[in-house]
């Protein structure tokens, strides 16, 4: 059964978190703790920090993320097909070929538009 196969993973998540918290606690206990204004200031190569630490980012990062999601979803469609490939035969390959071909059209458009360039 699936649930029982997953039981060790649930336990593992809990143990990993407990170990992590213990490590953090130990360093809190053993290490000195005397914060000062200068020490807690954000690091900026020794200068006084200018402006907020979080600022606007270029749109190209967003574009990469969108492309990643699209290809990620594509991969997920490939996954069950790859598992079942040996049962599907030629028909499965043709269906997957059409699926990929449609996506390749989008990919070529992207390539030509220069969306994959990182300028």
């Amino acid at each position: 059964m699936t649930l029982q196969a997953f039981a060790p993973i649930g336990v593992l998540i809990i143990i990993a978190l407990i170990i992590g918290v213990i490590i953090l606690m130990i360093s809190r206990v053993f290490g000195p703790h005397n914060p000062s204004f200068r020490k807690n200031a954000p690091y900026e190569s020794g200068m006084k920090p200018i402006g907020p630490g979080t600022r606007r980012m270029p749109v190209k990062f967003y574009l990469v993320a969108v492309l990643f999601i699209i290809f990620d979803v594509e991969v997920i469609f490939f996954m069950p097909w790859a598992v079942a490939m040996r049962d599907l035969g030629v028909y499965g390959l043709i269906v997957m070929g059409v699926f990929t071909l449609i996506l390749v059209v989008g990919f070529i458009y992207e390539w030509k538009k220069g969306a994959l360039e990182w300028e």
């Binding site: 999601i69 990620d72 049962d87 269906v95």
Partner: protein, 178 residues
């Protein structure tokens, strides 16, 4: 009568994660933190998929939502000027609340209704109807299965790809002009 075995406890943990995360999303003023809470909520949903014997869906949930959508959201948040420190009050509370309740009611009716119809499928717990990934692969590409939705999905993905470029290009040009 609820039996307190391993799966029941797991269900409650995941339910709390899902609902608690969702609550965190709507109550947080900080958009980045809101994103992280959303991921907690979606992780809970992944856990629920495992309980329903749909491990493939659970892995996809973690891979796509926590691995990809979270990144997209944070990138989108950082595109905006100051959405991490939001202090605009949303005023149209009542229409939104009404819409949300209506949507929820529709979902509940959609899920509960067939159960009363004496449908054979619902006589056993869904978690007993185990389907393997191989079955999923066969169903996706077979003629009796979902081959048409499968191919349409690729058109949808292509559309999304082109749409993303168009939007990003526009935003880029605006930025150039400024």
């Amino acid at each position: 009568m609820i039996q307190f075995d391993f799966s029941t406890i797991a269900f409650f943990v995941f339910a709390v994660l899902t609902l608690g995360g969702a609550l965190g999303v709507v109550t947080n003023r900080n958009l980045f933190r809101g994103t992280i809470w959303l991921m907690v909520s979606l992780f809970g949903v992944a856990g629920l998929y495992v309980l329903l014997s749909a491990p493939f869906l659970a892995a996809v949930q973690v891979l796509v939502y926590i691995g990809a959508i979270a990144i997209l959201f944070t990138f989108a948040v950082m595109l905006t000027r100051s959405l991490t420190r939001l202090n605009v009050r949303y005023t149209r509370l009542w229409p939104s609340a009404l819409g949300a309740v209506l949507l929820f009611a529709m979902l509940v009716i959609g899920v509960i209704w067939p159960v009363f119809g004496g449908n054979e499928l619902y006589n056993q717990p869904i978690s007993d109807v185990v389907r393997t990934t191989t079955d999923l692969g066969v169903a996706l590409v077979s003629g009796e299965g979902y081959v048409l939705p499968f191919e349409v999905a690729s058109i949808l993905l292509t559309g999304a790809m082109i749409g993303a470029i168009v939007i990003a290009r526009d935003a880029d040009e605006e930025e150039m002009e400024q």
